[in-house]
Amino acid sequence: MSEYDVIVVGAGNAALAAAVSAKENGAERVVVLEKAPREMRGGNTHWSGGVLRFAFDDPREIAPLVPGAEEQIENFYDGIAPYPYDDYHGDLMRVTGGRTDPVLSDILVRNSKDTVFWMNEVGQVPMEPALSLSAIKKDNKVIWARGLVVRAKHEGVGLSRAWFATAEAMGIEIRYGAAARELIVDDSGKVCGVKIRDDDGMHTLEAKSVVLGAGGFEANVQMRTQHIGTNIGNAKVRGTPHNQGDGLRMAMDIGAMPTGQWSGCHATPISADWGEFAPRELTDRSNRLSYPFAVMVNLKGERFVDEGEDPALFTYAKFGRAILAQPGAKAWQIFDSQTLHLLEARYSTSDPIVADTLEDLVELLDIEDKAQALRTLKAYNEAARDAGEGFDPTKKDSLGTHGDLKPPKSNWALRLDKPPFHAYSATGGITFTFGGLKVTEDAQIVGTDWRPIPGLYCCGEMVGGLFYDNYPAGTGLVSGATFGRIAGRSAAKAAQG
């Protein structure tokens, strides 16, 4: 007899949803293999903002998730637009250029609300309105971004803690420091166990079914370089250093089929202050997205993008890559004191370099061609504008640079002339990869022979085919929990069958 009914590899949102779901669906002996030690547990979920995008027809449907919201926020439901299936699916189609997998995206969107309620009720994940992320105050009403009203209380940290607490309360065993190395397949072709490495060496754990929820390959420089390219190879990792593509590799070793955009990932400008991996305690606060109010120069002292082309939401992905293409994969964002109050709160996680003149500032930066940097800033300032000419940070203000400055700055092109001047470093940071494995509607992994592999399921970042080029914010966690829940249920059924 197997030691376990279900082994879950990984311990982020998707994996723990799978473990809880397996237990809920009758699997008695469920173990979670977390490769990271206790203090690094929880995968990318810990780093996330905890935002949950889901479809609903009537804003009041969300009431049970956010008790007290109506008292806390005036006219709460008046500011929320319905976000029906078609809108959510339409957003997925739009940002992926129509390439999202039709079957999987339908499962995701159709189950999204039910998934979030299940996370709340069964997963015991407390939730709250995502006020600081997706709300805009307008007159006496708070207006909410479409589909993005609810988040896990205390963001990814709270979400991760809630999942672990629930899993432990349900009697699910969690093994820290247990790195899955290899899947064991019996003669019938069925996956029947996992070979692991822990502090005591190698062991084999037997199970009736296995769920892989081990994340993508964003932390693996070899795989990044190979699949996405040298620029992304140079990126810093914003999330867990443990997402090394182990699950993908293990599954492909026994014939799993890759699918989706293996050359794609979510990447954004982040601080260059840290090493290859941003510190865990900073969670998602490594982002450096207030560049529309800055001038960005590379180490050669040159500007290389139109910082004010669009709000950051529309430019971060390409600018993250643009910075990675610069010498040293680094740039400096230079602000003067008139826009400091507009910086995203996430800037507080690093200390800027500060000086009273641009000359002194450039002297303090690691720019190789300092003379060029001063020429660049001078040319910019000559083409730039005054706040009094119509600067408006709340919208594209068309306050662009004069003349033929190259590249231009099309909006918010304020002259840098109000000392002190502040410089923040920026590089490109990778969040997660889009390439994954082919799965059935039951989250069972499909082989390169187009036959499902018995006993093997996956969820989370490992599910391929949902995201191409981009993804709608708040979809990752809901997709993780949706397919985690399905994978756990399928694995439990298979274990009983």
């Binding site: 903002g49 997706s134 971004a145 963001e155 305690e281 709000p311 939401l313 109050h341 709160a345 709340t394």
Partner: protein, 487 residues
């Protein structure tokens, strides 16, 4: 050990020789809980009038230095950080305490240790060990001088805390036994604080001063400052002056030193709710009742609160109208517990106290001494809460001894999450860093550089009210815009 050694020297020897491996898993968890609890209340206390007033004095924390003032934008000297953060740690009187100590053992230690550790870039593991040394020193001293010391009018948190803070910081800095003894003797001369000032801003100020004094003792000793290592037993030394002849027993200071650690003592209490401790048994009963019955506020017809009579005398306040009255109203806190499933800091402002839902429930809430809990009962930390529901059910939950088996302290640091996040919210850290700070502290022993831990607790510069926009800065005409937030 020789007969000629003084008490300070003997103590110093133990502090220097303290072996971190004697910290059992239970003691380790308790140490982390004490540190997490202190940071929580330090964050919550950072913006109190007490701290703001302290900072108005010219020369206090107005020059920059290497150390973080929690939840504030400035970095100041070690001594200023210990003073201001120490005062914040006790500003709400919401920090942990020990019945053996007769005071608050963590608040004097953590701010001093953190200031030193930030400047010296110490490891988290060394801070935890030094904290254990500090608690051991404080509470062993308390065993030697109590309760005469307490009854006489000294505030042990401040007097013994100063010496504990010197012991802890000397250990963290790695002073020799000789210099550690000097630091302890220096601390003796700075120990101060009388109970006459309880109930005023001066009580938390005691803690700030003792954290600063303990740290200053260590820093002076490091530089070669002199003091009398006989300062404890001298006829004009600590025991004779602060206690008096025949009122102390120095043997108890060294008896069973660190075996077991004082951290394992079940007299340690973490305040779970920001209100009078005499209401806590009833609150716990109400919360458990609410959870067990999945009770909804609308189902409550009436409430009976039945604490032990001794707990009710100063908490029988049926209709509180001020923050202080609410903290001493068992009726109010039970109504809050039943309505909200929690008793939090935010429940003690004027708006919350006059909230219609709560005043309406208070009208149906009655408190009286429990008929079956006699005055001479073994445990007087007991209460029962009874709820009559609108559909005629009678629900009851009784707590017989809140303190039993270490029941007043969580089993693990995880149990501190809710209190910590409640306190962190009050600190308004930029970008809601509370969760990250908690997780960093929860695994503090793996932190290699405390300055990186402290920087997570720094506050944002004061901003203009109109700039406090949410993430949606770009207002387009669209009534339901795209999110502007980038994951």
């Amino acid at each position: 050990m020789t007969q000629t050694q003084t008490i300070a020297e003997r103590l110093a020897q133990r502090i220097v020789a303290f072996d971190g491996s004697v910290i059992t898993p239970k003691a380790r968890e308790r140490a982390l809980i004490g540190i997490v609890d202190t940071v929580a209340v330090m964050l919550a206390g950072a913006h109190t009038p007490c701290v703001a007033t302290l900072r108005k004095v010219p020369g206090i924390a107005d020059a920059s230095g290497p150390c973080t003032l929690v939840a504030q934008a400035d970095k100041v000297s070690m001594l200023d950080a210990a003073l201001v953060n120490g005062t914040a740690a006790h500003a709400l009187d919401y920090d942990d305490f020990s019945s053996v100590f007769g005071g608050h053992q963590s608040a004097p230690l953590v701010p001093a240790l953190f200031a030193l550790a930030e400047a010296e870039r110490s490891s988290g593991k060394d801070v935890v060990t030094a904290y254990a040394v500090g608690v051991e020193t404080e509470i062993r001293l308390a065993r030697a001088v109590h309760f005469h010391h307490y009854d006489k009018g000294w505030h042990p948190t401040a007097t013994l805390g100063t010496i504990g803070a010197a012991a802890a910081t000397a250990r963290l800095l790695g002073l020799s036994a000789e210099k550690t003894a000097i630091a302890l003797a220096l601390a003796v001369s700075q120990a101060a604080g009388v109970k006459a000032n309880f109930g005023t801003m001066t009580k938390p100020f005691h803690v700030g001063m003792c954290a600063r004094a303990g740290l200053l003792s260590t820093l002076l000793a490091r530089e070669g400052f002199t003091a009398n290592p006989g300062a404890f037993e001298h006829p004009q030394g600590f025991f004779e002056v602060f206690n008096g002849p025949g009122t102390y027993d120095t043997n108890r200071l060294f008896e069973n030193w660190a075996d077991p650690l004082e951290l394992e003592d079940d007299g340690i209490v973490v305040k779970a709710y920001p209100c009078c401790g005499s209401t806590h048994a009833a609150i716990k009963a109400a919360l458990l009742l609410r959870a067990e019955a999945s009770l909804k506020p609308g189902e409550i017809a009436s409430v009976e609160v039945l604490p032990h009579g001794r707990r009710l005398k100063h908490t029988d306040t049926p209709h509180p109208s001020t923050e202080l009255q609410a903290k001493f109203s068992v009726q109010y806190v039970i109504a809050r517990a039943l309505l909200d499933g929690a008793v939090k800091l935010e429940h003690f402002d004027e708006a919350a106290i006059s909230d219609a839902a709560v005043t309406e429930l208070l009208a149906r809430t009655e408190a009286k001494a429990h008929p079956d809990m006699p005055d001479d009962a073994d445990s007087q930390w007991a209460a029962e809460v009874v709820v009559h529901t609108t559909d005629g059910r009678r629900l009851a939950h009784r707590i017989d001894n809140l303190m039993a088996n270490g029941g007043a302290i969580p089993n693990s640091v995880s149990g501190m999450w809710e209190k910590f996040m409640d306190c962190a919210e009050a600190a308004h850290l930029p970008g809601d860093m509370g969760g990250a700070v908690f997780e960093r502290l929860e695994t503090l022993e793996s932190a290699s550089d405390m300055s990186q831990v402290l920087r997570l607790m720094k506050g944002a510069p004061a901003r203009r009210e109109e700039d406090k926009t949410s993430a949606g800065t770009y207002v387009a005409g669209d009534p339901a815009p795209e999110t502007q937030w980038v994951p």
